[in-house]
């Protein structure tokens, strides 16, 4: 008589279990909210996990100031509508010194505006567990990471010495100053995310949907022009029908040519996709194993 449990239900149940464990076992958890589709799903799951009560932790957004305007508008409206406690943190000192991706290059810019800002925010707010929306499918070093990922007092990940993690029993014990990164969406794929967004009618930033946008065309890459990236020789700004497959900073998030302007069309597009999700993320490709290096330094 109990009907078959679907794949999405299984994933949802696992994620809710993880979010609740984190809230129950840590004294100052927080959710890293990046405004992207994974964060939107994560937020939806957190609301489900604690309904009818409120989400018992704040959301933290690391704002590099190079995000899309539409992302910031979406964030602020959502926080207001849902009555969320939202903390926005920016590495102002680095920006005052002129940190930007065009001048520093993407690796250094990320280290300053994302990794350092994140570690500072966690320390300032004395966060002991930071819940994030990373998925193992996204990148090969993420495929190796535990759901509860221990970070030392400097925020560093030691991939060679991770705690064993069996069944649904998570070991959340840490000392003061150490933190846990928690990844409830570890086992979700990009398609799962979109199918869940469709099933649950979750609102996402319109940047994911195709429309005509101004972009700098650099070979295969389409770079959004919002923060005036310098054009190289032979590169032109064109109006192209495109959408974002992932969202980050404008310069480092390549758009893809696409006509998919609804969730259903995006799912259809992904089912046929031959290229990986983060291919257009410049930051993943600035050196071999670049995500692993960033993670070891404290990046999400």
């Amino acid at each position: 008589m109990p009907t078959e449990i679907s794949h999405l239900q299984t994933l949802e149940a696992e994620s809710i279990h993880i979010i609740r464990e984190t809230a129950a076992e840590f004294s100052r958890p927080a959710m890293l909210y990046s405004i992207g589709k994974d964060s939107s799903v994560l937020l939806h799951l957190a609301r489900k996990a604690f309904s009818p009560a409120r989400i018992p932790f704040p959301l933290i957004h690391i704002d590099t100031t190079y995000k899309f305007r539409e992302m910031i508008e979406f964030r602020d409206r959502l926080a207001c509508e849902l009555g969320l406690k939202l903390i926005v943190h920016t590495n102002r000192a680095a920006i005052a010194e002129g940190a930007n991706p065009f001048r520093l290059g993407t690796a250094k810019c990320c280290a300053q505006l994302k990794t350092k800002a994140l570690l500072d925010a966690l320390r300032d707010h004395r966060v002991d567990a930071a819940i994030g929306g990373a998925r193992r499918e996204e990148e090969r070093s993420r495929a190796k990471e535990r759901i509860y990922s221990f970070r030392d007092a400097y925020g560093q990940w030691d991939p060679r010495n991770q705690r064993p993690e069996l069944w649904n029993l998570f070991n959340g014990r840490i000392e003061q100053g150490e933190t846990m990164r928690v990844f409830p969406l570890s086992n979700w794929t990009e398609l799962d995310i979109w199918r869940y967004i469709e099933q649950e009618r979750i609102e996402v930033v319109p940047l994911y949907f195709a429309k005509e946008r101004e972009v700098l065309v650099r070979g295969e890459l389409l770079i959004p022009v919002e923060h005036n990236p310098p054009a190289g020789p032979g590169e032109t700004v064109e109006r192209v029908v495109c959408r974002m497959r992932t969202l980050g900073c404008t310069y480092c998030t390549g758009a893809i040519r696409s006509e998919a302007d609804t969730v259903a069309k995006i799912i259809e597009e992904l089912e046929r996709a031959e290229r990986s999700e983060r291919e257009n993320r410049l930051i993943d490709h600035d050196r071999d194993g670049s995500m692993e290096i960033k993670k070891r330094e404290g990046y999400f």
Binding site: A13, S51, E137, P159, P164, W167, I174
Partner: protein
């Protein structure tokens, strides 16, 4: 639908059996790889051919050394089914990472190199997967190209493995001849094995029954309690087994109070019924006081409850198991203090031979008896993977030390030593003489032997009971009086109270001895130069630098006992020798006191 939509499986095998290549091939041939991923792997491979292992060895250290260190998870699907694959390391050193991957899997793909046959590590992986509850095995006999696709080689290895598996217990076994480099019998049938008419690996994975065995009686561990204005309390958790319907009777543990399900919800959506593994909230018809760690269960067949359990432990720490040492156990949503009271023996997973053992080292498996400070509500692991499993956590280092699978309740403890008499054991001596070290060792030994024992250590006392006191003579005397008062109460109630305190003044110690009566004074003795050299807390150095006034031995006197019951010369004997001496003296004193009483 007979099969479930999702299959979780792991791949395991010895180093160099070609596991990562097999997975790369499986992903490639089921079209689970994107073009840019293929291109990036082509770039990294030495000769622009595809090195499939590069898809899964995601860490730089792994690519450098050409081995798999930690489990990697991969996700792919075919029109028939979705898969979560845990690629686990082959190296014995990383067995714990293999166990991590196996704990949530329904099936194991075991690889062997056709040239080498079964290796100890193949056996080890099979045994650990079996212990963790996996009953379906697909054995890929790989690198068949290097033995000329010889059927006899295949049959021989299959026969060897069958004989080994018989020793494990009931198991579903299939054998597949493969060459992962070229893709033979991975996703497409090989023309080079005409003698084989079984399924390809992928066909097999698509058709085996999947999904954990979630049947069984209803079990629901409370994770957290949710409250909102104007609503009854809701209990949040994940259903471990059984089904739950509105109106169902339930029993709450540990209170043993009964009630009925009033409503079931996911988020704000109401459900008539729910099944594993859903994460739900429930409200009850009666107002029971439930909290995290409590359990709701089927009243017709509740779980077992007990403080003493017998379990199989897979030890995963470099530091061996120490019987009697305090550990933490996380079981369902409960965390309790516990210690291992007995190791029955160790199992060599590679040979399945039992041998007598008093401890377990890294990657060893053994049956143990465990005593918890609070009861666990459990089912045997063989019946329920979620209410039968636990992890052992180091309360000091915080690491995960072991995985545990519950077998049954332990038989009643050997009666604790008959004495109900209490005793105060007072360790006095200079800072860094070794009082706490001996105290700790004695505490653990006595606790393991079933004595009621408490330990009042100077540093802990100063942080709590005597937080307000300094180090003047008056304050030191007051500190000794307070500790003496607590020790006296414990002694009166049949507890062995261990006190480790510098307690430099003879008169204060004598006063305590008179008040308590049953008192054993242990002089922990090492010459000042030795203590100063050890300087565990750096106090001597600071005292010599003039930073600490009134440091005993430096600028404040220590009055040694004139006639101690026992002296431990820690500069001449080891801590273990000292502890053994103290325990002997304690047991002698207790026996004597018992004889006097009768």
């Amino acid at each position: 639908m007979a099969e479930r939509e999702l299959l979780r499986f792991l791949t395991a095998g010895s180093v160099d059996d070609g596991k990562s290549t097999l997975i790369g091939r499986l992903l490639h041939d089921s079209n689970a790889l994107y073009q840019d991923q293929l291109a990036s792997v082509r770039r990294a491979s030495p000769d622009s051919s595809i090195d499939f292992s590069l898809f899964t060895d995601g860490l730089r250290a792994e690519r450098e050394q050409g081995i798999t260190i930690d489990v990697a998870y991969r996700y792919f699907s075919t029109p028939k089914r979705k898969f979560i694959l845990a690629d686990t390391p082959g190296h014995e050193q990383y067995t714990r990472n293999m166990a991590t991957g196996a704990s949530n899997a329904d099936l194991a793909v075991l690889l062997t190199d056709a040239r080498k046959g079964l290796l100890p590590q193949t056996h080890r992986h099979a045994a650990i997967a079996w212990l963790l509850g996996i009953r379906q095995f697909a054995v890929a006999i790989n690198k068949m190209d290097l033995v000329g696709f010889e059927e006899a080689v295949f049959r021989k290895i299959a026969g060897d493995f069958r004989r080994f598996a018989e020793k494990l217990g009931p198991i579903d076994l299939v054998f597949i001849p493969t060459c992962s480099l070229d893709g033979d019998n991975i996703a497409r049938r090989s023309s080079r094995t005409p003698w084989y008419d079984g399924a390809t690996l992928l066909e097999h994975l698509e058709s085996v029954p999947a999904g954990p065995r979630r049947s069984g009686r209803m079990r629901f561990a409370v994770q957290t309690v949710l409250r909102a204005d104007g609503e009854p309390r809701r209990y949040a958790g994940q259903i471990a087994s059984g089904a739950l319907r509105a109106g169902d009777p339930l029993i709450a543990l540990p209170s043993l109070r009964g009630s009925r399900v009033a409503s079931i919800r996911i988020g704000d959506r109401e459900l008539d019924s729910a099944a594993p593994p859903l994460s739900i909230t429930v409200s009850l018809e009666d107002d029971l006081d439930l909290g995290r760690g409590d359990m709701l269960a089927d009243p017709a067949c509740p779980p077992r409850a007990g403080r003493r359990i017998r379990a199989t432990l897979l030890w995963m720490s470099d530091r061996p198991l120490e019987p009697g040492r305090p550990y933490l156990i996380k079981h369902t949503t409960r965390q309790v203090c516990a210690s291992v009271t007995r190791v029955y023996g160790a199992l060599d997973p590679a040979t399945l031979e039992q041998r007598p053992a008093a401890t377990l080292a890294l990657n060893e498996v053994g049956e143990c008896e465990i005593e918890c400070h609070q009861p666990l509500y459990f089912d045997p692991y063989a019946e329920n993977r979620l209410t039968g499993s636990f992890i052992v956590i180091d309360p000091i280092g915080n690491g995960t030390l072991a995985a545990g699978m519950i077998l049954c309740e332990a038989e009643e403890a050997a009666a604790a030593p008959a004495s109900t008499l209490g005793l105060t054991v007072w360790f006095t001596g200079l800072s860094s003489a070794g009082k706490s070290t001996i105290g700790q060792a004695v505490y653990e030994k006595l606790w393991a032997r079933g004595y009621k024992v408490e330990w009042l250590d100077g540093d802990a006392v100063r942080r709590n009971l005597s937080k307000d006191l300094g180090f003047s003579k008056e304050d030191r005397d007051e500190n000794v009086r307070r500790v003496g008062f607590v020790a006296e109460m414990l002694t009166r109630n049949g507890v062995i109270a261990l006190v480790s305190l510098i307690s430099p003044y003879r008169q204060a110690r004598e006063e305590v001895r008179r008040r308590i009566g049953n008192f054993l004074e242990v002089y922990v003795h090492a010459p000042l130069e030795v203590c100063e050299q050890r300087d565990v807390k750096g106090l001597y150095r600071r005292a010599r630098a003039g930073e600490i006034p009134g440091m005993t031995g430096v600028n404040d006197p220590y009055e040694p006992p004139l006639n101690p019951d026992l002296e431990c010369r820690t500069d001449r004997e080891t801590a273990a020798e000292s502890a053994a001496k103290v325990i002997e003296a304690i047991e002698r004193r207790l026996a004597q006191a018992a004889a006097d009483q009768s």
